[in-house]
Symmetry: C2
Amino acid sequence: MAISADPANASAFEKNHDHGRCIHNAMERALRLCKQNGARLTPVRQRVLELIWQSHRPLGAYQLLEQLSKEGFNSAPPTVYRALEFLLEQGLAHRITSLNAFIGCSHPGCRHQGYFLICRSCGSAEELPSESLAESLRQQVSQRGFLVESETVELSGLCPDCREQESH
Amino acid sequence: MAISADPANASAFEKNHDHGRCIHNAMERALRLCKQNGARLTPVRQRVLELIWQSHRPLGAYQLLEQLSKEGFNSAPPTVYRALEFLLEQGLAHRITSLNAFIGCSHPGCRHQGYFLICRSCGSAEELPSESLAESLRQQVSQRGFLVESETVELSGLCPDCREQESH
DNA sequence: AAGCGTAATGTTATACAGTATCATTTGCAG
DNA sequence: CTGCAAATGATACTGTATAACATTACGCTT
Ligand SMILES: [Zn+2]
Ligand SMILES: [Zn+2]
Ligand SMILES: [Zn+2]
Ligand SMILES: [Zn+2]
């Protein structure tokens, strides 16, 4: 699958990448995919997607809500939860269960579970290319006759940069 | 590994195992470990541990709270959260992030992350023996210079029994 | 263009999950 | 017995997510 070879996405842990381009690419892909699927990327939905792409840090629903409210959008909890639900359905975002937060999907369009590395220091999260890992998981589990339908894999720790910092 | 070979624990998905024995064994081990570590398994703590062992289904803090209250224990949220915190620290229980729930650890005494299979139909959860899986994860991640400190691995789907049922 | 059904949004209220803080009690070492 | 630390009690609050129902916008048919 080789996500890292996809020029559209820098690693979340490369702190000096051109993030404007990151966002731009993400929005382009989102528009294209929604058009393809006949899904409506309405203003709130689009704005929420932009917001969770503002950084590579997962954002909580109420953080998003606050931002939306500042920008004059309607701002009751259901507004943002509905937008997030839409983005999850369309495969444009992931939910990070262990943080109660949400993040843009860095390779939408191909169905997959999100496997994440989350830095406890800088808060960045990065999707792991999942194929070989998914394979290991399936092996472990199929032996037991268990049918996996969804996977939560979230590894928390220190990203290369922060690891460096802490050692000083 | 070979948890299934450990006579102290039946698989959560074997619906007709002697669960009384399951609980009994769990409590014995807990007592022993606490004594070893100089930790105090006070009445609330012990009772909470028994409660999360009543079934192989993860229980929410407020479910536990309700039960405690029925039994005349003090029943404000901090009570149960403190007990749970203690049990987590002692390695006697795990938190299931994706369910906001808690479950007894089926092999306490050896430090490990809990990797779980969770049935969406019957609600049972079972710990996977984690070694080979942990190894795959570490491999994937070490390449990237990321230092893993804690892991959340929760696979949801259908257990063998429920899979059977659904196909009828 | 008018009318219609569905999808999306607005609005209010509430359920569920977890924590902060400070007072009080208990267990235990000296 | 005394005094400290750990554990519990009690109150209030913050944070996360959804239920339920009213209203509006959109896209299609006629
Ligand atoms: Zn970026
Ligand atoms: Zn970092
Ligand atoms: Zn365990
Ligand atoms: Zn089941």
